[in-house]
Amino acid sequence: MGEELKVIVFNLGSEQYGVEVDKVKTIERMMPMTRVPKTPKFVKGVINLRGVVVPVIDLRGRFGLKETEYTNDTRIIIVNAENLEVGLIVDAASDVIDLDADGIVDPPEVVGGVKAKYLRGVAKLADDRLLVMLNLSEVLNRSEIVQLEQIYE
């Protein structure tokens, strides 16, 4: 047995993804957002999270997937990684589970349209479901935003 990991499970399209609990600050329902001009399309704006202004990105857009309408299940997961506090919009947040760190294997090239560099690995759950672990520092990589901005310009 390897290290025990507590993981928040959320849905994006047909896949289930996970982020470590200790990187998640809170999970919020959708709330009013203020658009920030001249930012990449996946940056949806900023929210007022109890007095703190937090930027929010649409994870679908970030991964280049098709963005969908927000529903009652849509959640904003506020993560804190690499000293950045950012909200991630996901289709739904479903579960908290324990995971054996040894059970995580390297991800294939592409999972559900998401490139491998954004992924930390894939874990097999007890009921044969696959859980894709996110590599948050890549997802929040700012140098890539700068490049994207240049393309948008």
Partner: protein, 674 residues
């Protein structure tokens, strides 16, 4: 303690007098004929002398007395002001400042001023400067008075075939860790020999209680050249003077010293009082808190206060809205009263942290004068906007970058008088140092009328250092090219001078300013001069702002950047060279559609209507009219950072939370004005 009360007064007043002396001396240097300035200086010096004598600071008063004597002869026309006399007076002034600083730090204000006093006496007696400088050199030697024991040690070393070197090391003026450098010198020397004596003492050097110069006697088997080279290999050393002492010189030295001692009538060697001073100042520091009518407060506590207050302010706005909805007279009245109290409170909280840039600018006239003098350049520094206020934390950090930029202008910007005359400029160069508010920012500009920056030279260096590819180099704007100046390793000075040209410096300046959330820009025209413009955030946490609506979005525009608001009728719009302009007063100013600039989703552009509202904003003296859909009114807003993830945004300087909980972005209108 009774005396403390007077001490505070003495310190305050002597500081004022010293500042006045400094300013007036600089003025006098420009108009040496103006005897009324001499009168002012004389009066300040006289008061200072009286005050320090009353307080028992005898060194302070004796030095002032000699300065006064010189000035007196000048006033009576018996002595003409020469640059040597100015240098002497400035030197005296520096000593006075050091002594007063020592008193502020709780010391006794004692200092060995006999050298300066002697020079001043010589000047007052109308003797020329060459002698003064000779005496100056002697003074260094005199500082190194040897006692009997040390003398015999040196003598024995000479007998056993060692060399004895008298070494004087001068550190560079910009040396940051003087003690560390001095330690490196000592460490190096101790590897090859033994230090017999040093002045100031090792303890004082360790505590950085020395200016830039220290002297020592050194016993070694190595020849002088080698030792001097060893010391020079340590960085930030300006000068090493090494004199090898043989037996005869040693005897001469001792006899001269005893003569000097007898002449000055001091019983103790000059080293001793300064040692005593160190003890006294350590004891005095504990008393320091009792001095003055101010108290020191940790900046963190002020930050906490500010944060709490901003929370309160958001609630206040919310309360005002609720009271407006409920329409209960008693409630409205209470809320109104609370609003008044909180705005008073806000003024106080904000002012606590603000300091005028004057505190930084003060030392520049003198610094520029000394620099110009050392480079044989003529120039004038004109300061405007010294009362502009900046947050304390920014003030603390901005001094060094500004010193760098000023040095840069003096060294690279302003040409030598001969060169200036050749190019048809006036002999005296001018450097403007300006500070002003614009929006949420304070701008500090350093503008010289010198030779300007050679675009080609900068590009050459950038290409050589691989900062840009040759094919791209052609397409760069001047602005972009000049930004290479801030890359490390770039200097266009052909010769490395003491002041600048080693290619370190401007990159440090840029880093520092950016770490403060600011920006540096360079504008330069060959032959006519260069302007460095530093944009700094005021880091005010609360500002007055105008809320505006564009499409469905709300933005806040800082009141400080708004000139006025106006109604724009369609027939007032003009097209000039493809740029939309607006008739405003008697002129035309550029018109910007904010919705377009911010890419707002909306149905129609505001300017397409018959009438729309515009906000006229400014940066310095440039103005731009910005169309908006609606002016929502003024409000006090609390600045919130947008978070690191969204740094470097265009035209957005931060965010604020409105009374209804929504986030509104704060416009940085400076970005809209080119």
């Amino acid at each position: 303690m009774e005396i403390n009360q007077y001490l505070t007064m003495f310190i305050d007043e002597s500081k004022e007098h010293l500042q006045a002396l400094n300013e007036n001396l600089l003025k006098l240097e420009k108009n040496p004929e103006d005897l009324s300035i001499v009168q002012d200086i004389f009066r300040s010096a006289h008061t200072l002398k009286g005050m320090s004598a009353t307080m028992g600071f005898s060194d302070l008063s004796s030095l002032t007395h000699e300065m006064e004597n010189v000035l007196d002869r000048v006033r009576n026309g018996q002595l003409a002001m020469s640059s040597a006399i100015f240098d002497l007076l400035f030197k005296g002034l520096d000593s006075l400042e050091n002594m007063v600083q020592d008193i502020i730090d709780g010391g006794t204000g004692q200092m060995d001023v006999s050298g300066t006093v002697a020079e001043l006496q010589a000047a007052a007696n109308g003797e020329g400067s060459p002698r003064a400088s000779a005496e100056n050199r002697d003074r260094n030697a005199a500082d190194l008075a040897l006692d009997q024991y040390q003398h015999s040690v040196l003598q024995q070393s000479l007998d056993t075939g060692h060399f004895v070197h008298g070494i004087t090391v001068t550190l560079r003026e910009d040396c940051v860790m003087k003690a560390a450098r001095a330690y490196m010198v000592f460490d190096t020397l101790e590897r090859h020999g033994e230090i017999a004596k040093s002045s100031p003492s090792v303890q004082e050097i360790e505590q950085e209680q020395f200016d830039r110069v220290f002297s020592l006697y050194y016993i070694t088997k190595e020849p002088g050249d080698k030792i001097a080279d060893l010391i020079r290999s340590i960085s930030e050393i300006e000068r090493v003077d090494l004199e090898t002492i043989d037996k005869k010189a040693l005897d001469a030295l001792v006899s001269r010293q005893s003569a000097a001692k007898a002449a000055s009538g001091r019983e103790a060697g000059p080293l001793q009082p300064s040692g005593a001073k160190a003890d006294a100042s350590a004891a005095g520091k504990r008393q320091q808190a009792a001095l003055g009518r101010t108290i020191r407060v940790d900046l963190d506590r002020l930050d906490d206060l500010m944060n709490l207050f901003s929370e309160l302010l958001i609630d206040r706005v919310r309360l005002e809205e609720l009271a407006g909805e409920i329409r209960n007279a008693a409630l409205s009245e209470t809320v109104e009263h609370m609003a008044r109290v909180s705005s008073d409170l806000q003024n106080i909280v904000l002012k606590l942290r603000m300091v005028p840039v004057e505190t930084v600018f003060n030392r520049f006239p003198r610094m520029v004068r000394d620099l110009a003098k050392s480079m044989n350049k003529k120039l004038e520094l004109i300061i405007t906007g010294a009362d502009t206020e900046l947050d304390r934390t920014v003030i603390d950090e901005i001094g060094d970058p500004l010193v760098h930029l000023l040095r840069n202008s003096v060294d690279h910007g302003i040409e030598s008088p001969e060169e200036r005359i050749k190019t048809g400029k006036s002999e005296t160069g001018t450097i403007h140092l300006r500070a002003y508010h614009s929006g949420n920012h304070v701008f500090i500009e350093i503008q010289d009328d010198g030779r300007g920056i050679d675009r080609g030279k900068v590009l050459d260096k950038a290409l050589k250092n691989g900062l840009v590819s040759p094919d791209k180099a052609e397409t760069l704007t001047d602005e972009e090219v000049f930004q290479f100046l801030f890359a490390s390793g770039i200097s266009t000075a052909e010769q490395v001078s003491d002041i600048s040209g080693r290619g370190v410096g401007l990159d440090v300046v840029k880093n520092k300013i950016e770490s403060l959330g600011g920006r540096v820009q360079v504008v330069s025209a060959p032959g006519t001069g260069t302007t460095f413009s530093v944009q700094l955030p005021m880091t005010l946490s609360i500002i007055g702002a105008m809320l505006i609506r564009v499409g469905a979005e709300k933005y806040a525009v800082p009141l400080s950047s708004i000139v006025e608001t106006a109604i724009l009728r369609k027939d007032n719009i003009r097209n000039v060279h493809g740029q939309t302009m607006m008739d405003f007063r008697s002129g035309l100013i550029p018109l910007l559609d904010l919705g377009e600039v911010l890419e707002c989703p909306r149905e129609e552009a505001a300017a397409a209507r018959e009438e729309c509202e515009v906000v006229i904003v400014h940066k310095g003296d440039k103005q731009v009219a910005v169309t908006v859909d609606e002016l929502l009114g003024q409000q006090e807003i609390v600045l919130k950072p947008l978070g690191k993830y969204l740094s470097g945004l265009f035209a957005i300087s931060g965010a604020t939370i409105l009374g209804d909980g929504q986030v509104a972005l704060i416009l940085d209108t400076n970005a809209l004005i080119k």
